[in-house]
Amino acid sequence: MKRTVPLFISAITGFVLIGTAFIPKFVDWGNDAMAWFNLLAAFAFILGGGNLLKMQLQKISAQQPGWGYAAVTLIAFFVTLFVGLVKVGVHPNVKFPEFAWSGDYLQEDGAFWWLFEYIFTPLSATMFALLAFYISSAAFRAFRAKNTEATILLIIAVIILLGRTYASVWLTGWLPDEFILGDSGIKYSDFNLQNLSEVIMENFTTAGMRAIKIGIALGVASTSLKVLLGVDRSYLGSDQEV
């Protein structure tokens, strides 16, 4: 019951969805399964919120170090949830003004929009922007041209970084637009950083990415089959679960 039923559910769902690509009769079932999938994904966010609530409340009740920040998290969580679900400050839809809750939840000047615009967006953008410093400092410490592979990576990274910015014009913009050897078709300007970065991106990087994509596709297909056939059951967790 604890392990067999889930195996059947995953196998039936997976094979029905695979069948939609081959059997027209399965298409409607596949569409229903997709709609349910999206709904479950939405409920997974609620599960995540519930889990956050549980963890933060445990922290507060045990008065663990930093429990005050857990309280701040909870306040921010509940305020966002309340203003978003109740649509605080949202005007009704112009087509249906008598229905107070018919407006868009992210409507401009609503309280939820305010939180999104002035708290969520700056915080998420700054968090990722902060990584610019750490990624640069990590690269400075870790990147050493110790062997051929590391040297290639370093050179290519520098060419792409410079080639995609105005620095390429400063550094190599002076290369003349003249043929190197008579009418060979190769010009000096072909070797400026901007052109070099384009050649690298078009040929070598695309080739590498293509091989990686093919590898990923084969990996995903084999893992999916292992899950559907019940060979891989790791997602069911342990038998000790209550």
Binding site: D32, I46, T73, F77, I119, S124, F204, L225
Partner: protein
């Protein structure tokens, strides 16, 4: 007082003084143009009533004296809150500190709440509530639902599965959450298996099948195109040989896989450069916000 503390205190005082100076010049304020909105009741059976409210449109500070333009307190407070949040996160560069931890806690709470609200309005309300109770949905959130729409009882299945999923939070019987999880995993496996094989396997292989030698219509060899195709095919094949671990990488395979590693290093170098550029673009965006939108410099 430690030297570093003294330096930071001086910097903070100077920064605060600069902020006050900028604020006294009228910077860091947001102005809006009020646009009146008028709407009449849509339902034929409801009383003919006109509803009025105003919509705000942000305008540049240069238009603050125009007619219909007024100071917006909520947006101005928002601007200062956004600037405070940005600076508080940047303060982590100096080291972990209470200001950073405070804004980080806010970020976690707001993000979780935001994700839940979006999930509720885009999926649960639209595709579950409106499908199971169309009559109630019509008189509350979605007045455009047809009054003859009947409930789709099939949606009771995802509702039950969702409740079982939330059971995971219960101290006992959390194993029941494996059922919806199994549906989730099965659906993901089914969707991914086909889509990845179709687009990333067959599609990419198809795009790689191209001629080594390319000729023009007059029969002459297009050497640059030919070289490009050859580099491309050899690059893809050598990378795939490197990924092929079922055979020993010895002899010719060793050299081909080594070439594959080099092509992969080129790819990773370019990816790294793009990641750095993306982060720097975000950083410059935040700096533009601080200096331009907030301080008005």
């Amino acid at each position: 007082m430690k030297q570093s503390t003294l330096i930071w205190t001086i910097l903070m005082v100077a920064g605060g003084g600069f902020l006050l100076f900028q604020a006294s010049k009228g910077n860091g304020r947001v102005y809006v143009r009020e646009i009146p909105v008028e709407a009449t009741a849509s339902q034929p059976d409801s009383e003919p009533q006109v509803y009025q409210w105003t919509k705000n449109q942000q305008v540049p500070q240069s238009e603050k004296d125009d007619p219909g333009v007024s100071f917006s307190l909520s947006r101005t407070v928002g601007l200062w809150v956004a600037a405070f949040c940005t600076l508080a996160i940047f303060s982590f560069l100096y080291g972990d500190n209470p200001l950073y931890k405070f804004t980080e806690a806010i970020f976690v709470g707001v993000s979780a709440g935001y994700a839940m609200v979006v999930a509720f309005w885009t999926e649960i309300a639209t595709n579950l509530f409106a499908k199971l109770l169309p009559g109630l949905a019509r008189i509350t959130f979605y007045p455009d639902i047809d009054s003859t729409t009947r409930p789709e009882l099939l949606y009771l299945i995802p509702l039950v599965l969702s409740i079982l999923l939330l059971w995971r939070l219960s101290p006992k019987g959390s194993w029941i959450a494996r059922w919806p999880l199994a549906f989730f995993i099965g659906a993901t496996a089914g969707i991914r298996l086909i889509s990845y094989l179709e687009t990333d396997f067959i599609g990419q292989l198809q795009s790689t099948v191209m001629p080594f030698l390319v000729f023009a219509s007059d029969g002459s060899l297009l050497w640059d195109k030919s070289l490009k195709n050859t580099v491309f095919i050899v690059g893809v094949l050598s990378c795939m040989v490197y990924f092929f671990f079922s055979i020993e990488h010895e002899g010719i395979i060793k050299y081909v896989s080594r070439l594959g590693i080099w092509v992969l290093m080129v790819t990773f170098g370019a990816s790294f450069a793009y990641t750095v550029m993306g982060r720097i673009a975000l950083l410059s965006g935040r700096l533009v916000f601080l200096f331009n939108d907030w301080l008005g410099i």
